[in-house]
């Protein structure tokens, strides 16, 4: 089981309570599709992904980014059992969506970059440590049920 200090819990909760899900979700998914273009393979039905400009204006991508970010709410509410919280979602990504689990790490890195831009100097070293620890637990849980 992952151990969280009070400080880490406070940092994670603070980030989420100030989060604009639409803005950050959209920006993170768009950034992932632009910086790691092979991730576009999972978005065949999402309309025009021709170049960075069209990706950034794509409403289906924007909506999906928001949806993904809200998916993190489950981890936030169950920080002491993230592994089991995502068991079902992990199976979904493995069996139905067929997403290479390395993509979870790529998206997590883009999310970190976007949050850093939003928070600026407030994204302190301790904040980054706690945030990346949280994301790495989520990424690990999402990859766990692959078989």
């Amino acid at each position: 089981m992952v151990e969280w200090t009070d400080s880490e819990r406070a940092i994670i909760n603070s980030i989420f309570s100030n989060l604009d899900y639409e803005e950050i979700g959209r920006k993170s998914l768009c950034r992932c599709l632009i910086v790691y273009p092979w991730t576009q393979r999972y978005f065949g039905g999402f309309g025009n992904l021709y170049n960075a400009e069209t990706i950034l204006c794509n409403p289906l991508i924007a909506a999906h980014g928001t949806k993904i970010l809200h998916g993190l709410d489950r981890a936030l509410k169950n920080m002491d059992d993230i592994k089991n919280t995502y068991a079902e979602l992990s199976l979904l990504h493995s069996d139905k969506l067929h997403v290479d689990p390395d993509n979870f790490r790529l998206l997590a890195d883009c999310l970190t970059v976007v949050i850093a831009a939003k928070m600026g100097a407030a994204f302190t070293v301790d904040t980054q440590v706690a945030w990346q620890k949280f994301l790495s637990v989520v990424v690990s849980a999402l990859g766990r049920q692959y078989h």
Binding site: R31, I34, D109, T112, V113, A116, A117, G120, D126
Partner: protein, 143 residues
């Protein structure tokens, strides 16, 4: 995944904009590397301390960033231009190449924090590719 002419220009342009804060970014990036990925401290066991924000970490971060800037100037031939640095990393430092990616990520985070408007997705992909090419050039002499 080599850089297009446009991406090379994007990298040069962004690094030029960044130059007033390059020391800060280098120092911060290395501080974050040892904090977020504590296993990287194994390379600094010979220092009195390797805590984030400490003097040796900041100083070394600035040195590394200087090397990155030097590489920007050699962007058209990184393998050739970084031969001696590659030998240093291969035979003396022997840094596991996985760590170049981790440091690159920390650099990107710092760039994003300090230049949120300028660090667009297009700039991000160009700089990420450049840092990856730089890492490859550093690994050239490894085996």
């Amino acid at each position: 995944m080599s850089l297009s002419a446009k991406q090379k220009a994007t990298v040069k342009d962004f690094f030029s904009k960044m130059s007033t804060r390059s020391d800060d970014i280098g120092a911060e990036a290395l501080s974050r590397l040892v904090a977020v990925y504590p296993q990287t401290k194994s390379y600094f066991a010979h220092w009195k301390e390797a805590t984030p924000g400490s003097a040796p970490v900041r100083k070394h971060g600035i040195t590394i960033m200087g090397g990155v800037y030097d590489a920007v100037g050699k962007i058209d031939d990184l393998k050739g231009g970084l031969l001696s640095l590659s030998e240093l990393h291969a035979f003396m430092l022997r840094v596991d190449p996985v760590n170049f990616k981790l440091l690159a990520h920390c650099m990107l985070v710092c760039m994003s924090m300090i230049f949120p408007e300028e660090f667009t997705p297009q700039v991000h992909v160009a700089v990420d590719k450049f840092l990856a090419q730089l890492a490859l050039a550093l690994c050239e002499k490894y085996r």
